[in-house]
């Protein structure tokens, strides 16, 4: 049987097993790199050229998502190419001019060529390079650019969805032309570029042997000519890879990684070690210590399991190696992800706060750090001490953590970011041993908390959140402090639980003028302040239809200088068809919760005190209000905070779908329309205006429909008919009205009912 290794069997249906970490899929959830709390900040090591590589591969593809901006230009191929040209011209031309010409339209370049040959100017150029060519100078450069443009279509990725392949014959012709042009050219810089094109064409045509041969013949000794050499080497590395010569591929990719920022990602992507023998062979190809260091870095980067071994090797070579520090940074980050809780879901009230973590992995990294520190040869002492302190913190060794942080702080000097990290770890480390709250504990931790809440980035903020979560656990019996600490730890939304919220206790706390320093801190950081709490109280009261009480509470907001929450529409307005957005957009006046309370109270009084049409009108308006302040109306926000039913405990989930609750006769339920129904019925009965009566009957029918939705009854004809009594009434008693005809026109349910029942 054939040697199966001849072809690379790629992953197939049996092997694509892991659901992708779809940070960019339809639904939103945390990116790979931010899925857990991360109080340890990778950016405390200052290696801007390798900043991209602190994180997972996801960051390489999608860029930085944190607060610290990447410099994307550092890795741009276009920028690097322009730099090569700038070096070629020895800085004589600004990069903007070079870029304009190198990436000019080929037709413009062709015109410049013709100008240069004929010494005529077909158009005026302000670009000095173009002017140079128009004078007939440096035409070999222009000739090269024209050739390069000719090559471009053959080295680009084809349409994925086409089975078309490149025109290999033309590519071979161009390859040979490049070789000929290289031989004819005198200028070493341009010769090197022709060599690059020849090697590139061979590579993209899949002629990897040719690619390697051309490199040997044309590019091997051009490192001193221009850094374009590393792009040629990248192609050579790729050819070795595709020939299965992994040791050579790895070695050359390491060189490319070190010397070409633009090709760094590709070098990393193509770095592959299949066996120990390959690894030893790659190492044996290194000519000096720096090459070894890069190789170790890439091996430790590509396979996180190999990182400890690689760090140990780098430590032996050079404790000050930035490659080592990068791997340490990544390893500490990996450990952080492994042992710190997941965002939002990871902080459980029934589990201890950050239990001490012990593992071979932590121990091994700590050994490396201690060995590096002991050598006295590391460049960034604060970084090493801080990383060590972080591991001590994770392990629960508070004393060692403190000691390491003390040294780190001394060494960090004015490095703000490092000092931040130290503060974060100090605060968390202090909290570890705290098992109860008293004045002395509060005094100890408050300064740290005050620093952390002003975190400059998400890492510092994560430390703050973890600290607040510990405080939550310490204050779990105290509803006010527990609420505030949890709010800060997990960004809770108090309004989402407004019906179960300790609003009176919270208001009392926020009115207290004699708070302790810690309590004052909690007061200041909480997401809601006194007016918000009063609004919540009033909303609860309105929810339970305690209108007088709600008025009094809302008045407290006004008396305190605050504003009562506005509604988006006047709930006394109603239409056949519910369109909240339409009502909100059409509404131009001002209507707030206080207006609502006043309207209800005055209309209820009118209902009590009047008769006939006046009473009917009042009933109608009350029907409108009670309809509109329910879940189904345009002023739902009057008595609750969220329209989305996921914020309510009103429904259940049976594993497949949401189920509306069985109606439980709760008049305070946001879904309840019985009161609206009552008033509409009253209005219809009281009025002598048949059109008005018919309209109220239709509005009552809307209430019935909503009641059907929340009834939980099976969706069948019998159930439907149970909730069509007002439809029936409209048809039987008001067939002669305009409302009847309008209802058929506007309401498909009524039209269907009329036609079928």
């Amino acid at each position: 049987m054939k040697n199966w290794t001849r072809s690379f069997p790629l992953l197939s249906s049996l092997l694509i097993l892991f659901p992708a970490q779809t940070g960019n899929s339809c639904g939103w959830f945390y990116d790979d790199d931010e899925i857990s709390y991360r109080p340890y900040n990778q950016y405390i090591i200052d290696l801007p050229e390798w900043a991209w590589f602190y994180y997972s591969a996801h960051a390489l593809d999608f860029g930085d998502f944190t607060d610290t901006p990447f410099d994307y230009n550092l890795y741009s191929q276009k920028e690097e190419n322009i730099r090569f040209w700038s070096d070629y011209y020895q800085g004589k031309y600004a990069e903007a001019f070079i870029s304009e010409m190198v990436y000019a339209d080929p037709s413009d370049l062709k015109q410049l060529w013709d100008d240069g040959i004929s010494k005529k100017k077909s158009q005026k150029w302000s670009n000095p390079l173009a002017q140079r060519w128009q004078k007939g100078e440096g035409l070999n450069e222009l000739k090269y650019l024209l050739f390069a443009h000719e090559v471009v279509p053959y080295v680009q990725e084809l349409d994925w969805w086409s089975n078309e392949t490149q025109d290999l014959e033309t590519m071979h012709i161009l390859q040979e032309q490049a070789v000929d042009l290289e031989a004819q050219e005198n200028d070493p810089g341009i010769r090197q570029r022709y060599a690059f094109q020849a090697i590139r064409l061979a590579h993209y045509a899949g002629n990897f042997d040719d690619c390697l041969l051309l490199f040997e013949q044309l590019a091997k000794n051009t490192a001193s000519v221009n850094d374009l050499y590393w792009w040629c080497l990248s192609l050579k590395a790729g050819a070795h890879l595709r020939k299965g010569e992994f040791a050579s591929a790895a070695y050359y990719n390491a060189l490319v990684f070190e010397h070409s920022r633009a090709k760094r990602q590709y070098a990393l992507r193509d770095f592959y070690i299949d066996s120990d023998a390959t690894w030893q062979q790659a190492l044996s190809m290194c000519r000096n210590e720096q090459e070894q260091k890069t190789l170790w870095l890439m091996a430790g980067y590509k396979q996180p399991n190999a990182a400890p071994m690689c760090m140990e090797a780098l430590l032996q070579l050079d404790p000050a190696a930035p490659e080592l520090e990068l791997l340490i940074t990544r390893e500490a980050e990996q450990i952080q992800r492994e042992y710190l809780p997941e965002r939002d879901f990871g902080l459980q009230t029934d589990a201890p706060w950050l239990p001490p973590a012990t593992s071979d992995r932590i121990a091994r990294l700590q050994q490396i750090l201690q060995a590096g520190i002991a050598s006295g040869k590391t460049d960034h002492v604060a970084f090493w001490q801080c990383a060590s302190a972080f591991l001590y913190f994770l392990s629960g060794d508070e004393a060692s953590c403190d000691a390491a942080l003390a040294i780190a702080s001394k060494q960090a000097g004015n490095d703000e970011r490092m000092q931040w990290q130290i503060t974060a770890l100090q605060t968390l480390n202090t909290l570890r041993s705290v098992d109860h709250m008293d004045a002395s504990v509060e005094k100890k931790i408050l300064p740290g908390l005050k620093q952390l809440v002003k975190a400059p980035d998400m890492f510092g903020y994560d430390a703050y959140r973890l600290a607040m979560y510990k405080l939550f656990l310490l204050n779990i019996e105290d509803p006010v402090r527990a609420e505030i600490c949890m709010n800060q730890a997990k960004y809770t939304d108090p309004q989402a639980i407004y019906l179960d919220y300790p609003v009176d206790e919270m208001i009392a706390f926020f009115r207290d003028k004699n708070l302790s320093p810690m309590d004052q801190f909690l007061h200041d950081v909480y997401s809601n302040q006194l007016p918000d709490l009063l609004d919540m109280k009033a909303t609860v009261q309105m929810h339970y239809q305690q209108w007088e009480a709600a008025k009094a509470t809302l008045q407290e907001i006004i008396d305190g200088g605050g504003q009562v929450m506005e509604l988006y529409a006047d709930p006394k307005e109603i239409h056949y068809y519910d369109c909240h957005d339409c009502d909100h957009m059409a509404f131009e006046g001002h209507y707030d919760k206080m207006d609502l309370c006043n309207d209800i109270l005055s209309l209820e009084k009118k209902v009590e005190q009047t008769t006939g049409e006046e009473k009917a009108e009042a009933c109608h308006l009350l029907g409108n209000i009670y309809y509109n302040i329910s879940h189904f109306g345009n002023s739902w926000m009057a008595t609750s905070y969220y329209l989305n039913t996921t914020f309510f405990d009103y429904y259940s989930w049976n594993g497949d779908e949401h189920i509306w609750p069985i109606a439980d006769d709760d008049p305070n339920s946001v879904f309840d329309n019985t009161k609206a129904l009552f008033y509409y019925d009253q209005a219809a009965e009281l009025t002598r205006d048949r059109e008005f009566a018919a309209y109220n009957v239709f509005l009552a029918a809307k209430c019935e429909q909503n009641m059907m939705y929340i009834s939980g009854a099976p969706d069948n004809v019998e159930t439907t008919l149970d909730y069509r009594t007002r439809f029936d009434l409209l048809r039987s008693d008001y067939k002669d009205t305009e409302v009847y005809l309008d209802a058929i026109d506007v309401c498909k349910y009524f039209a269907y009912y009329v036609q079928n029942y």
Binding site: K2, F8, L11, S12, L14, I16, C26, D61, W161, D274
Partner: protein, 348 residues
């Protein structure tokens, strides 16, 4: 007057009776087939002869996979079939594997567009192999409740592609989809291919055999009396190694047999199917650490036959295609001709 039994009775009835009883003993028609899952199709003369001697004239060849490209935010074909030498003796049936994740990212417009692209690419590849359109096309996708509607729409849309109007369409059916068609839906195709493998939890470090477990299989098979569309049978022959680091599945080494690990100094034998790393080092491109484990799961000839014998009574839609996975020489060298023949024969 007593009439003797008509001579015609003996002339006609007995032969008819004989013919009927012969029909009752006649073998069920089984179309013996193989999957070809590599990106090159270049079977050796010996391989073609072996297939021929087994009575295999149908090859289900994976033309490409469709995955979701995160960076480009669109579906992408990968592992396209490259070098192809089409043996005259074999009929080639295209197979496309589609990840469920791809469907998750698409809306219905995207699904319809994808259907067209898949057909077009498949057509281009197939045109290089044969002047006739494919007789059968198979789509392989482990759809879920969330992607069912989109997947079924994709299948329907693909079937409107003009050149494939006469083609028989097939879709792979996993055991859980077979067992619960009301919940999972039945794909709108002519036939299903019941994948009688990969029935366990591959990520469970304590699982015995995630490829084939008779009791798990039986539990699924008993759920359904009759699947709504005719089914063909897919039987696995392969062996793989599941690599666990800290009890988490990190990689699948495929194919991998125990005899390779027995020769590997980096690993020590725990039992027949489990191996533990004793040191640090590279194994097949993976850096392993002490304590890491590999669990070998093999479809031995005995298990292959057992799975075929277990499945056979449940499939009645003859002529029935029995497709063995797959033509990788590394896999086939672990089976004799007789052993392969017996797997097919289990369905006949």
């Amino acid at each position: 007057m007593h009439r003797p039994v008509s001579r015609a009775f003996f002339v006609l009835f007995i032969p008819i009776f004989w013919a009927w009883s012969s029909c009752a003993d006649k073998q069920q028609e089984v179309i013996r087939s193989f999957y070809h899952w590599q990106t090159t199709l270049d079977l050796s003369t010996e391989e073609i002869q072996e297939l021929s001697s087994l009575g295999v004239h149908d090859l289900y060849v994976k033309y490409f996979d469709v995955i979701w490209d995160e960076e480009a935010a669109q579906p992408r074909p990968v592992a396209k079939l490259q070098t192809v030498q089409v043996p005259d003796e074999l009929s080639i049936h295209p197979v496309i594997f589609l990840t469920n994740e791809t469907l998750e990212h698409l809306d219905m417009d995207g699904v319809n567009d994808l259907a067209w692209r898949m057909c077009k690419l498949m057509d281009q590849i197939h045109t290089g192999l044969s002047k006739d359109p494919p007789a059968i096309i198979q789509i392989d996708c482990d759809w879920t409740a969330g992607t069912r509607d989109k997947y079924f729409q994709l299948l329907k849309q693909m079937q409107t592609y003009k050149r494939f109007e006469e083609t028989i369409w097939s879709a792979t059916i996993r055991l859980h989809q077979y067992a619960y068609p009301q919940q999972t839906g039945v794909p709108p195709v002519d036939r299903g291919l019941l994948m009688f493998y990969n029935m366990g939890n591959i990520e469970d470090p304590d699982a015995a055999h995630s490829i084939y477990d008779p009791s798990t299989a039986e539990a699924y098979l008993k759920q359904t009396d009759h699947y709504p569309i005719p089914l063909d049978a897919g039987i696995a022959l392969f062996s793989w190694g599941l690599y666990f680091h800290h009890r988490e599945l990190q990689q699948i080494f495929y194919p991998l047999y125990a005899d390779e690990l027995l020769k590997e100094s980096l690993f020590t034998t725990v039992d027949d199917t489990h191996f533990a790393a004793t040191g640090e080092g590279y194994f097949r491109g993976r850096f392993v650490q002490p304590g890491d484990t590999i669990r070998i799961e093999s479809m031995s000839p005995e298990l292959g036959l057992k799975s075929a014998e277990q499945l056979s009574p449940y499939l009645h839609d003859h002529p029935l295609s029995v497709i063995l996975y797959h033509t990788d020489p590394v896999i086939l060298q672990h089976y004799t001709h007789e052993e392969l023949d017996s797997v097919f024969s289990a369905f006949e």
